[in-house]
Amino acid sequence: MPSKPRSLWESITAAGTPAGRLHGAGATVNLADLARGSSLGGRLEELRGRSVLLAVKDPLRAALAMLELDGVVSRMVLCPADLPSEHLAPVARNAAADACLGDAGDTSGGLDGVRTSIGVEPQLRAAQGQRVCSHATEWVLLTSGTTGVPKLVRHDLATLTDALTDTRPGPEPVVWGTFYDVRRYGGLQIFLRAVHLGSLVPAQPGEPVPAFLARARAAGLTHISGTPSHWRKVLMSGAAATITPRYVRLSGEIADQAVLDALHAAYPQAIIAHAFASTEAGVGFEVRDGLAGFPASLIDAPGARVRLTVTGDTLRIRSGGNAHGYLGEDASSFQLGSDGAVDTGDRVEERAGRYYFLGRQGGVINVGGLKVYPEEIEAVINSHPWVCMSLVHARHNPITGAIVVAEVVLADEGPDAERPASEALTRDLIHSCRQSLAAYKVPASIRIVPRLEVSASGKLVRPGA
């Protein structure tokens, strides 16, 4: 950060009036217009110093509200679009929220303790006087990927912008597109980059890939981010060529060599980067060499701003981007080591000077007492030229307790004009797994399926996760 501005609005206007735009599905807002305009119907002052639940569905409204609320409210709780409605009340209670922002017309009333409900509108109205920063706002993000009520992760503008090393707009306009929800950590990182450096085109919840890419192209997209699952959907959509980005970013799941290679082929002009970040640990690194995994030199690198360590086989991160902890009843379960590093729960393994991700600590399949990480097997299956994506999971087995099985989505195009028969393909897949994996890791059964479910946060839906 060039200086230490107090609010997000002060930060993005530090270098002058912002030239960027926020491109919604039905409306576009010039960032500069927020200097005198408000998306909150002139009611921002009612929220000063309060704990506010941001529960809009529309990403444009969420982006506008975040820009207005920082520095004004004491706490803002970012509820992603896919938050189950029954989780809203426990989240509000845990965050001691007393105000709620919803889509205009939606009154998220009936929440205990919530005294004020305001609708957010993309049509700006005149703001009440100058925007005054009075509070160091606590930003609260929700964890994903677990069953039950999400945990509330405490950040502030300093931790969230720690990975933004340069916030000066360059000579060429930057237009960021993202498949992520801007209220989740990965999407929030893109939102913060975009409003500092240019414009943002967020995907709408449930928006078909070709429609989003067409909107992104019309907005002049230059940079774009998503999970490897999002990118596999793009590659399968037949619409990948709609955009010609300068920079393509993957994060949120393990980027295997197959998806990196496919993106290099689809976007030869672009930098293909994969990043590691988590809501609790912040941004760990970004790798731009086109290879899966990351260089071992990043671990224990002396003097690095982000300190990465491997304890046992688990990646730990200590940086200014670490969250402050969990809020409310989960506060004591925050995984912080004695050295102040956050345990990411992601297992890694070093091979020839490079670290590769094995999978999540909790995702291990136990085959007769031997540990199997589904992601390791998926990477092998995904490297097959006829495979687009795959899901490896456990099936109960009377002999080994569990056994590994796989479901595979095939690519429309492959190395030959005609796709081999399913039976020949599954035999070939088992053969290639046998070449590179221990026998107990080779799927006992491979089923070809038309599609695999990807969650609203862009991650492959894993049974029992």
Binding site: G368, N397, I399, Y440
Partner: protein, 81 residues
């Protein structure tokens, strides 16, 4: 294909995949002597569940655990009826 043929094919295929020498599959061949290890059997049970739609070992019904190849075939034949 008969159930017995399906089972025989799976034994043979898994033996090839696991690089194991399979004994001649006669009805009185003891499973313990057939040349396959427990991982091979785990795979066979999974594949047979895909092919025949049943896993007798995980059913609620009481079963006699098969000792010979013939027992194994009869177990699946009993469930597939």
């Amino acid at each position: 294909m008969s159930i017995k043929n399906t089972i025989t094919t799976q034994f043979e295929q898994v033996a090839v995949e696991q690089e194991r020498t399979l004994a001649v599959l006669t009805d009185d061949l003891k499973l313990i002597d057939c040349g396959l290890d427990s991982l091979s059997f785990a795979i066979i049970v999974t594949r047979l569940e895909d092919a025949l739609g049943v896993d007798p070992f995980s059913s609620d019904r009481a079963i006699d655990f098969p000792v010979t190849f013939g027992d194994f075939v009869r177990l699946y034949e009993g469930f597939a009826k």
